[in-house]
Amino acid sequence: MSLQAVLPDTISGLLGLEGVLGDIVGGLVGAFLVANIMLIMTAFAGPWAKRKITAAFGDRIAVNRIGPFGLLTIVTDAVRLLSKELIVPEGVDRPAWDLAPMVIPFSALLGFAVIPMGNGIQLADPETGLAFAFAAASIASLGIVMTGYASNNKFSLIGALRAVAANIAYEIPLVITAASVVIFAGSLRMSEIVAVQAEPLLTVAGVTLPTWFAFVNPFAFALFIIANLAEVGRNPFDIPEAPTEIVAGYQTEYSSVYFVLIYLGEFIHIFLGGAIAATLFLGGPAGPVLPGFVWFTIKIWAFFLFTQWARSAVPRLRVDQFLEIGWKGMLVLSFANLVLTAIIVGVIA
């Protein structure tokens, strides 16, 4: 049972369409809208916000020539990147090499299908919503393996192997930590997880704290954010790219549009990581005064800012240390968290 009508239903309702036709049209228009919201955000994040943020950390100014605050750089960069020559190296494994840049961004976009963004913007609200989001996000690993294997480049290969190792090592703690939230919420359905968090937790000096799971279980939140950082491959876990070690990792051989697609995928992936974290731990689109969608945007951008902060200020771990933390630290802690949560929930309920 959905608490709120999902976006396709709203659209078909507005258009006055019924039945299968309504589902199809509503679904397509809704998907188009959601995908574009994310693409616009990424367009801001990639060519502009990332530069500005990194520059601020490094005492620089960054883009400021074209448009107010250099914002039109987004347009010029789009033209620049699209008009560059697409270099296809000899010996690449053609279908896989071409497909990978599509698999990476679209898998991340797919994850947004079940994310409640507030103001009724949610494409679908299946009972297994959370599992779907993780499953969709993991498809990106497949794309990375394709890039690494098809590039016929040793740096790419090492990068892809590192990415897979990282994904296996950190996906498990990530999902296990999310499972502890599911135990609290009693559902995998995204809208219900959000709804559970709306109840008041305690009131301090007239300010009522909601039962956001970040407040209920800050330890799980910290674990989730760390594992998420590893998932999206940012410092201190940017092992798969590691520019000073393996040039650019799995994306070494990609140029022009393919490069843009892979980078697009990475940024959407960061936003998806932020969106899942916001949904599970920060009450989804909930927040005072401002409309839900604005809060949702603020939350996922906060996560984006956090990844850029880490990127600018934290050194990179060595690959073996990275895996050691994943298998020996995060995994153990996340299971401990799960068991503890289960006991607490079992005793209270």
């Binding site: 990194t54 950390f57 490094g58 005492d59 620089r60 040793k154 740096f155 090492i158 410092n235 201190p236 940017d238 790219e241 590691a242 520019p243 000073t244 070690e245 393996i246 040039v247 990127r311 600018s312 200020a313 934290v314 050194p315 990179r316 771990l317 060595r318 690959v319 073996d320 240390q321």
Partner: protein, 557 residues
């Protein structure tokens, strides 16, 4: 090369009246077939098939544990290799082992079994001059491509002959498709275009998974014939601009000092005290700028992206650059030193200039504290650097490592103190030594050396401020044309930003050197890379390379 030719004005006269040369000749006994006198050290002539015996004896019995440089040159009637030996404990105790070989059979025994550093030095001698070293483990060309014809510093080398250099040497030595093979290793070319090689360095690496099994640094991409160019310039004016281009990462004045010191000793020029203080101050400014870059790029190698630390280091280095620009009119290629002094006095108004330096020095402790907060006290960075890239002191000595690399391995060796020049022995400062032998120690040494340099600059500024106006003598009287006597030979070194930067000059009576040999600290330091990296992970190899702080302009010359 006449036998037992004694000179009364020998520099290392001992109390007993027996010269250092006689003492060492006695030690070697029959191995010595002749004597020479270099301006810096006695020279012992050794037969080409007894080099190892002589060097073993000098190393184990006389304590000469530092093969500073190997100079090779061709005369009309012979080839000659000179092994410039000295001690890490006593830099002023020097000896030159001279090994002549005949023209028609230029084969000489290799010193590599005694000093590991001889490996590359002898390869260079083979490459540029054409002497063959017997018993050498890997006698290949080092600076020029393998296909090069002739030896460019030889006397009969024809410069006009076209050279055909193929790309064969860069071919992947493994099969293109090795699915059929059962090897577990992979060969990767790290560089010459790679984000972490700090220039055009090519590291041929064999990896097993992520671990480095074998690596070989391939250098020479930036070889610009600096030695030859210096041999074609006049002592007085034409050589001084070149040193700026060796270690071009803002260490220009330190390099210039290497030439200034050598040539001034060669031509017996006395530098006025005032000029020495200016030199000391400006050279230390260069050292700070150079160490800042080293710090920033090392952080970059470990951090990965163009991140905050690098920009902070650049920001603080920029202040030094501005001061140096005020002083010399240049930001990189200073050309500020002259034989016998410096080219001009401090910029007017002097108060403003001093103020600028003082402001910088006042802000420096805070900046360093910030670096310590962000770098050295960061646990992830410690996890990455402590205990990685280990270079034990004995190995470092054998490879002739100097500068911060040696001092990071606990070797208390700094030419500014051990072989004083300039104004250093009048000032109050300390040699920084760390015992960790790892990447972290080398990083710490550089950061602490910045503080010591600041101390030196502070004292120099105080001295310069109070210097009487009518005694500001920046330049000694130096003849317009310098023609040192024929066959005078000298090897002198200074403490450059990366270590011992030495120059060997042989005069032939004209106004240009007959042989000009540069001992580059980076060249020797880079040789230690396989020792530090084999068996470690690729990221640690990159970090070790960063901690060596090499500049390819100086490695290749």
């Amino acid at each position: 090369m006449s036998l037992e030719e004694q000179q009364s004005d020998e520099p290392a006269e001992l109390e007993s009246g027996v010269s250092r040369g006689d003492e060492l000749a006695d030690l070697l006994g029959d191995l010595v077939v002749g004597r020479e006198e270099h301006m810096n050290a006695p020279g012992l002539v050794i037969r080409p098939d007894e080099v190892q015996d002589a060097l073993f004896k000098l190393r184990d019995e006389a304590g000469f544990d530092h093969l500073s440089c190997v100079t090779a040159q061709e005369y009309e009637d012979r080839y000659e290799s000179i092994y410039h030996l000295t001690k890490f404990d006593d830099r002023t105790d020097e000896v030159s082992v001279v090994v002549p070989t005949s023209k028609d059979n230029p084969v000489s025994q290799s010193a590599e079994p005694v000093f590991r550093t001889a490996d590359w030095h002898e390869r260079e001698a083979y490459d540029l001059v054409g002497i063959q070293y017997e018993d050498h483990p890997d006698l290949r060309r080092i600076l020029l491509p393998e296909t090069w014809q002739g030896h460019p510093l030889g006397l009969d080398y024809d410069q006009d002959r076209p050279q055909i250099a193929t790309l064969r040497e860069h071919a992947n030595p493994l099969e293109e498709d090795h699915r059929a093979g059962d090897s577990n290793t992979m060969y990767i070319n790290i560089g010459p275009h790679h984000p972490a090689t700090h220039g055009v360095l090519h590291v041929e690496t064999v990896v097993d998974g992520e671990q480095v099994v074998d690596l070989d640094a391939d250098i020479g991409y930036l070889h610009r014939c600096e030695e030859q160019m210096c041999q074609q310039g006049t002592y007085r004016h034409q050589i001084m601009p070149y040193p700026d281009r060796w270690d071009y990462i803002s260490a220009g004045l330190l390099n210039e000092w290497a030439y200034a010191r050598t040539a001034e000793d060669l031509a017996d020029i006395e530098v006025p005290e005032y000029a020495q203080i200016i030199r000391t101050m400006s050279a230390e400014l260069c050292r700070i700028a150079s160490h800042m870059i080293a710090l920033g790029t090392f952080a970059l190698d470990v951090y990965g992206d163009f991140t905050a630390i690098f920009m902070y280091a650049m920001r603080d280095r920029e202040i030094v650059q501005n001061i140096l620009e005020d002083l010399t009119g240049q930001r990189m290629m200073f050309n500020y030193f002259r034989l016998g002094g410096v080219v001009w006095d401090l910029p007017e108004p002097r108060e403003e200039f001093f103020e600028k330096i003082r402001d910088f020095l006042d802000g420096l402790p805070q900046a360093l504290e910030e670096y310590h907060d962000m770098i050295t006290s960061n646990e992830i960075l410690q996890a990455r650097t402590v205990g990685t890239g280990v270079l034990p002191p004995e190995v470092a000595k054998s490879y002739g490592a100097t500068g911060p690399v040696a001092r990071g391995s606990g070797i208390d060796y700094d030419l500014r103190r051990d072989d004083p020049y300039g104004y250093y022995d009048e000032l109050d400062w300390d040699v920084v030594v760390e015992d960790g032998c790892d990447n972290f120690s080398r990083l710490l040494v550089r950061m602490r050396e910045v503080e010591e340099s600041a101390k030196i600059i502070q004292q120099c500024v105080d001295l310069l401020e109070d210097w009487p106006e009518d005694e500001r003598n920046i330049q000694a009287n130096v003849p317009r044309t310098l023609k040192p006597e024929e066959d005078t030979e000298i090897y002198r070194a200074v403490e450059g930003a990366k270590g011992e930067l030495g120059i060997y000059i042989r005069a032939d009576g004209t106004d240009k050197p007959a042989r000009f040999k540069i001992r580059s600290p980076c060249f020797s330091n880079l040789q230690t890379l396989p020792e530090m990296s084999e068996g470690e992970y690729i990221p640690d190899m990159i970090a070790s390379l960063g901690s060596l702080d090499i500049v390819l302009g100086e490695v290749d010359r």
